[in-house]
């Protein structure tokens, strides 16, 4: 009966193509949305990784080393650096700021770290800032080494370019010395938001806690959590639409073929063979749509002004979910096929 199912698909080719293309667009949008939600994490991860740290030491009770930080004086920096297991420690500071871009301003996230690290990312062009008046900026700003840039109320000299460094939905990152950031955001007060460390401290002074890199990434992601949740909801809705499209195509096909099924049953074809044919149709529609969806997603992703990184698991799970969707969607059609009375084959046309 698989032959009959395949021939039926050829017979109804136009409808099949419409179903495959519609479902593929849905799958592509789902992939892009999944990539979008994943993009937030990827850019946060890249930023944290670029700092070359193993963990962050923050005040006990603080939510994180960056946006959820509780600023504190670096009085205990030397004690932390001297703890067993700590290879290196650096005073770090983070603050939201703005950069003048022509007549307008755009938001940016500023990080302060010692010139030679740890905590200072490597540059693709130029060097790391060494004085409070210098800054290394993300390449997404499109600026060049040697230019001046107005950051907040200060004018700084660009000395380095950090490749594709962004956070919070493609917002550019800029890197200053720790003193530079304190002058920019804390009115010159010697305040930091965390102590970046290399190594694993065996213990910490009272009133401090360690935050690992994963928690650091989550801290950077916190402001976009609601957006990620919303995108995920839309993605789930799209999956449901895909189920409905595949399901309606298979159901309509089953309705139109009830007489064929009745004939099959009347001539002794087991019901399970008929069902296998219908399920095969659904799975083929879903799989073809998945393949086309992956191709479409590659074309759609660059159109988005944000980072779209479709995770590998999405590509692997898409065909699997597509098969599950196909089978689920064909349930209604299967029920009709099982219930068909072979006596329907008798009688006039």
């Amino acid at each position: 009966m698989l032959l009959a199912a395949l021939r039926d698909m050829q017979w109804r080719m136009r409808r099949l193509v419409i179903a495959v293309v519609s479902t593929a667009i849905i799958f592509a949008m789902t992939l892009v949305l999944t990539g979008l939600a994943n993009g937030f994490r990827v850019e946060a991860q890249r930023t944290v990784d670029s700092m070359g740290l193993d963990a962050f030491v923050v005040k006990a009770g603080a939510a994180g080393p960056f946006l959820g930080a509780t600023p504190f004086a670096p009085a205990d920096l030397a004690r932390v650096a001297g703890e067993p297991g700590v290879v290196a420690a650096a005073p770090l500071a983070t603050a939201a700021t703005t950069i003048r871009d022509g007549a307008s301003r755009r938001n940016a996230t500023a990080f302060g770290a010692p010139e030679h690290g740890p905590g200072m990312p490597s540059t693709s062009e130029g060097r790391a800032p060494s004085t409070p008046e210098e800054v290394a900026v993300s390449s997404v700003l499109g600026r060049h080494v040697g230019e001046d840039v107005q950051v907040g109320a200060r004018t700084l000299r660009i000395v380095g370019i950090v490749p594709n460094s962004t956070a919070l939905a493609k917002m550019p990152n800029i890197f200053l010395t720790t003193e530079g950031l304190q002058q920019l955001s804390y009115n010159g007060q010697p305040i930091i938001t965390s102590i970046g460390i290399v190594g694993t401290p065996k213990q910490l002074p009272d009133g401090y806690q360690t935050i690992d890199k994963a928690a650091g990434v989550n801290d950077l992601l916190r402001p976009v959590k609601v957006a990620v949740g919303s995108i995920t909801i839309v993605a789930v809705l799209l999956w449901i639409v895909a189920v409905l499209i595949v399901g309606s195509v298979v159901y309509l096909s089953a309705l139109e073929r009830l007489r064929d099924f009745a004939v099959f049953k009347a001539i002794g074809v087991p019901a399970r063979s008929i069902l296998a044919g219908l399920a095969l149709q659904a799975v083929i529609v879903a799989l073809l749509a998945a393949v086309l969806g992956v191709i479409l997603a590659q074309l759609l992703a660059p159109l988005f002004p944000m980072i779209v990184v479709v995770p590998a698991y999405a590509y692997i799970s898409l065909p699997l979910i597509a098969i599950a969707i196909g089978l689920l969607a064909s349930l209604a059609g299967l029920r009709r096929a099982v219930a068909v009375d072979p006596a329907l084959a008798f009688g006039g046309p």
Binding site: M1, I267, V269
Partner: protein, 330 residues
Amino acid sequence: MGDLSIKDLVVEYSSGGYALRPINGLNLDVPAGSLVILLGPSGCGKTTLLSCLGGILRPKSGQITFDDLDITALDGSALAKYRRDKVGIVFQAFNLVSSLTALENVMIPMRAAGMSRADSRERAEELLTRVNLEDRLKHRPGDLSGGQQQRVAVARAIALDPPLILADEPTAHLDFIQVEEVLRLIRSLAQGDRVVVVATHDSRILPLADRVVELRPEVATTNRPPETVRLKAGEVLFEQSTMGDLIYVVSEGELDIVRELANGGEELVKIAGPGDYFGEMGVLFHIPRSATVRSRTDATVVGYTAQAFRERLGVSGLGELIEHRELASN
């Protein structure tokens, strides 16, 4: 071996909540190697009987035995196996799968029976050659004439060489040239031990048959004097789904006219009293009684043939009788 035997077959189904018995106590014995024609008008139960023979419809009671196999006792997969291995069906509307070629349509039962693709293709080609369609193998049903489609359907029916072939109105949608081809083909199927059962309302094809079974035998229509019938309370005058040739007029007492329901109950249609008449539609149109009549009290009724009743009613045309005109008092 290969004999077909039907004993006391009763088929009942529900129509609008009423119990209908298109087949009511049928007995039939068909020896192997015969071609039987089931003859009768629409609705007389021809297709119903074919469905029972094909293991598609379960009768209410009775027994169908074919090739020493009690079909009415089969269930589930045994029934599907019986349909596949023992029965070939030629449907009235051809019922070919429109997306498949002639060759693929014939291959279906063989593939379902587990035959390899190559073997089933070879056998399908042989069969289509046998029905003179060797140059139409790759054509879809829509590109074939009615007669060609019917020949493909016949080839499909005999694909697994079943000992029982059922054909439902095989000539219904064919012109006379196509009918000729199909009749020859069907006649040729009744060879060896094979039994071929053809249901039709077309009496022109009767010469084809070794045996003709009239599913609704004509009841005697000769005019005869009125019959007086005396009934005790509770006695049944006639039953729903039976044939009869008398129209009854109530002389004394009361009778219940009831319809049997599919759920086993009854619905009172009317209480007939003196001067009322009933049973005219079945007699006039040669259709089964649509209700059961049972006396409510001790009663006397007079049965008239259609002609005698018309004279008694004093009408000239059928119209007034069909409209159930009041009976003139004597």
